[in-house]
């Protein structure tokens, strides 16, 4: 119990500071922060439909967040979940619309597994091998692979091979009914994909903390030299952990396609890949924590739209708060510095 409180201490304080700074910004720009936060909360959790939409928005964040958390645990910085998401979405949608006559219990798993493999290869093959064998920094390579994936999707959709030939809008055809993950609550975005996300979180927890492979990945992340000394294959573990990380981001893309969008739209960013980093960070890379962190950021997202409608506060306040939360989680040592300063001052006073 004590350790849980200790783990919660940093994120909770960071969220509180971010909310306070957000209030100040709103007051300076002429808005009432109390009304804004109330409408934000109601927008996210005010009724069953809003709760469903918040949970729906959390699904891709849980899955990409799990991916990022795996890489962080293994001491690698996969910041290209965005690209792996796109690759998973492309593969998922393609299988969804081009195969006909399959029963749903084959079509859906087929699309999901293929998307996981594609996302895994996107992260594991080039960034993973490059890191393991040439030392190329995975922060940069995964980021570059993200851009390549997004331009690849533009290429496919803008008068390319995946564009829906029946119109002039750059978007893919709609997937077949047999590939659709059904909605859980009607007139909301919530599909049975939420269960895939929850099972994935439990699976990752089991994998990372209860299996030998998970132990090896964490050992490599914790101390590469010691892991090598203990006879672990460090390069292989790097490739596999980046691959596994990409696989969950890819799964996120496919679940979003099969469960919510049903077709791929041309866009510059899904936004999930970047928020995933924030989710993993706030959860301190704990797979179960990822679920709650994802719901928090999903709530900020859905709630902010409601806030814009009802309190006229620009919805981008959600990004402002998100950025501040991450900043204060990363710079958690501010607390120590302030404590030190206070202690020094007290000492001086005692001396005086």
């Amino acid at each position: 119990m004590k350790s849980i409180l200790k783990e919660l201490y940093i994120p909770v304080v960071a969220v509180l500071i971010a909310i306070i700074i957000g209030s100040i910004i709103m007051m300076v720009t002429g808005f009432n922060p109390v009304i804004a936060y109330i409408s934000l909360f109601l927008g996210a959790f005010g009724n069953v439909n809003n709760i469903a939409n918040t949970l729906a928005a959390a699904v891709p964040l849980i899955l990409t967040g799990l991916g990022v958390a795996i890489s962080f645990k293994a001491g690698l910085f996969n910041i290209g979940a965005e690209g792996q998401y796109w690759i998973g979405a492309i593969v998922g949608v393609w299988i969804g619309y081009s195969f006909t006559g399959l029963p749903w219990y084959i079509h859906i798993p087929f699309a999901l597994v293929a998307a996981m493999i594609a996302g895994g290869l996107w992260a594991g093959l080039i960034p993973g091998l490059a890191k393991a064998y040439t030392g190329a920094n995975e922060v940069i390579t995964t980021m570059m692979m993200s851009y390549i994936a997004i331009y690849f999707s533009h290429f496919l959709l803008e008068f390319g091979p995946m564009m829906d030939k029946s119109g002039t809008i750059p978007q893919s055809p709609v997937i077949n009914d047999s590939a659709v993950i059904p909605f859980l609550i009607r007139n909301t975005q919530l599909s049975y994909g939420i269960f895939i996300a929850l099972v994935a979180a439990i699976f990752v927890y089991w994998l990372m903390f209860k299996t030998t492979w998970g132990f090896e990945m964490r050992a490599v992340g914790y101390n590469q030299k010691a892991a090598r000394y203990a006879g672990m294959n460090v390069p292989l573990n790097m490739v596999l952990s980046l691959g596994l990380s990409g696989a969950f981001a890819g799964l996120a893309g496919a679940v979003q396609m099969l469960g919510v969008q049903h077709r791929l739209y041309d866009s510059f960013t899904s936004g999930y890949g970047y928020t995933a980093i924030v989710v993993a960070l706030l959860a301190n890379n704990n797979p179960i924590g990822v679920i709650f962190a994802a719901i928090l950021f999903a709530a900020l997202g859905t709630g902010s739209q409601y806030m814009q409608l009802n309190a006229q506060v620009p919805g981008q306040m959600a990004d402002v708060i998100t950025g501040l939360i991450v900043f204060f989680v990363a710079a958690y040592r501010i607390a120590e510095v302030i404590k030190d300063r206070l202690a020094k001052r007290q000492k001086k006073e005692v001396k005086a």
């Binding site: 940069i140 991450v326 501010i334």
Partner: protein
């Protein structure tokens, strides 16, 4: 195909497109040479682009807009430096935090200050410069003359940056801090101060790059108008092997890819494939095809002074 390459507009656009990449890339060179990975350049560019418009419109002077943007860029960079250098927080995560914050706060303020109509249409722009002599040379004149003043400032900064880093004592010290901070400190160099300097320079130059986008090339601000240029600049710096001229060369190459893809807008050849090139080249450079790019040894590693 031939007429595209003989069109001076393509080459003029290359230089224009390279400028908002070269400025942050030069800035990133200072920061990373001192040992701090600054991916917050993207966010600093965006915030600077916004405040350039705010200050320019408020005072009616684009020059005050530029100066104000550079000061705001410096302030954000110092906040980043404080957390990254003094508090030894993770530089990548801090950078992401600032980028998310920047995207949010600029769009929020745009909405809160100017409403849904966008920034005022009477925002002044920075002047363009016609270079006497060069402007009348056929072909070359059309390429080199008539750009925004920031393009020429960038060229001057490029030479100054190279001179500073490789031909001055302070530049040598800055580089030593990024290679081996322990040894540098033993030699009596203030590691912390020099890292602040590196980050501060990257903030100011990124801000110039951002201001170029909003009041140099246009006279307005749009949400997320930097569209990843801070990250591409980071790639340019790596492709340029952490040197000013290398960064500039890479920025030109990446600028060329963008300019070419714009020219190919209406042809069968996919512009999206060309847009991938900078990213593919950067990965190849990191992996070691054609001379490996090796970062400064202590790049991205926080340093705690020994007492």
């Amino acid at each position: 195909m031939k007429e595209i390459f003989l069109n001076p507009q393509l080459w003029a656009a290359t230089l224009a497109m390279a400028t908002p990449l070269a400025l942050p890339a030069l800035g990133g060179t200072f920061s990373e040479r001192s040992g701090v990975v600054n991916i917050a350049m993207e966010g600093i560019m965006l915030i600077a682009a916004f405040f350039a418009v705010v200050f320019a419109h408020m005072t009616g002077s684009a020059w005050i807009g530029l100066s104000g943007a550079m000061i705001v860029g410096l302030i954000v960079a110092l906040v980043f430096a404080w957390a990254a250098v003094s508090l030894t927080a993770n530089q990548i995560i801090l950078g992401m935090a600032i980028n998310i914050f920047a995207s949010g706060i600029t769009a929020y303020l745009l909405n809160a200050m100017y409403g849904f109509t966008g920034t005022p249409v009477d925002t002044p722009m920075l002047p363009t410069v016609a270079i006497p002599g060069i402007k009348s040379i056929p072909f070359l004149g059309q390429i080199l003359s008539g750009h925004s003043v920031i393009v020429y400032l960038m060229i001057i900064i490029l030479f100054a940056a190279d001179y500073f880093l490789f031909h001055t004592n302070l530049g040598l010290r800055l580089r030593s801090v990024g290679e081996n901070p322990e040894a540098a400190e033993t030699a009596g160099i203030n590691v912390i101060k020099l890292r602040y300097l590196g980050v501060a320079l990257s903030g100011i130059l990124s801000a110039m790059g951002g201001a170029y986008l909003s009041i140099g090339a246009l006279n307005s601000f749009n949400p997320d108008m930097t569209s990843g240029r801070g990250y591409i600049a980071l790639a340019a710096m790596i492709f340029g092997k952490w040197t000013p001229f290398g960064s500039f060369g890479a920025a030109l190459l990446f600028g060329f890819a963008t300019a070419l893809s714009m020219q190919l807008q209406n042809t069968a050849f996919s512009k999206n494939i060309i847009m991938m090139l900078p990213y593919i080249l950067t990965i190849l450079a990191l992996v070691g095809v054609g001379g490996k790019s090796v970062p400064p040894a202590a790049d991205g590693v926080p340093y705690t002074p020994k007492k």
